[in-house]
Amino acid sequence: MRLDVILRVTTKLILPLMLLFAVYVQFHGDYGPGGGFQAGVIAGATFILFTLINGLGAVMRIIPVAVVEALIPFGALIYAGVGVAGMLTGGNFLDYSHLAHDPVHGQEWGVFLVELGVFVTVSATMLAIFYTFAGRGRR
């Protein structure tokens, strides 16, 4: 019971920092190393650490399996949606230049939305794979 308490208190301190770091890496990917993939993996790892300490039931109350399964294609849909929006505003598929009033701002908006889509899909996939591995149980 004593060893358990140390783990619980430490992870309670670390988990919010990990999630904050994931969001930082995601949005700061334009100015330093980072971007959608790294941030998605770190966010998935945050929830996996929570599961390791508090059990599968606790994390499934926070993020149910149905929500995770719906989020996996949602990110890919955001990405493709940006591509189609590029077509609708008068360019080719995935052309970001016309998304805002000025081509440079259009590119920035396009990259931002695309990285957001990648983040959602990667973190949801990592979490879903972990849910299935952990929920299988040994016979």
Binding site: G75, L94, V111, F133
Partner: protein
Amino acid sequence: MVLLALLAATTIGVVRVRNLFAVAVLTGVYSFLMASVLIVLDAVDVAMTEASVGAGIGMVLMLGALYLTKTDEAPPAHSPLLPLFVAGVTGAVLIWAVSGQPPFGMAATPVHLAGPDYVQRSVAETGIPNVVTSVLASYRGFDTLGETIVIFTAGIAVLLLLKRASRDGDGSN
């Protein structure tokens, strides 16, 4: 390059050790060493991805799979001479093929034909200083769309293979 020698030593460990739990931990160590080597080679984005993906998620998935199967490898049933011979011949051919590369670190090699062009165009056209992100999301955006679809497919396939409708019962085969 001390890091590369450590990498080679870890690899020998992965080949020889038979307890699979130890092999999973050694693979995590290998991932961290590879991330350090990548930082020395000036590839910071790739190093961050390799560290978080290889040492983080990779080790978690391997340990999860080991929990669901058994954790010791059986002793090899065939003699290792033929695979060693095949590996040796492949290694010799690869060394001969790779030795034709230009010397390390020179800037006038054919591999640098398209790169500096992107570095110069990136801030002017997209306003993003990180050239890797701008190439990934804007100049080569199609490849990243394909990659997202690949991750989505892998997630769905794992769900199809391993998900159970209820806790007891075998599910459909």
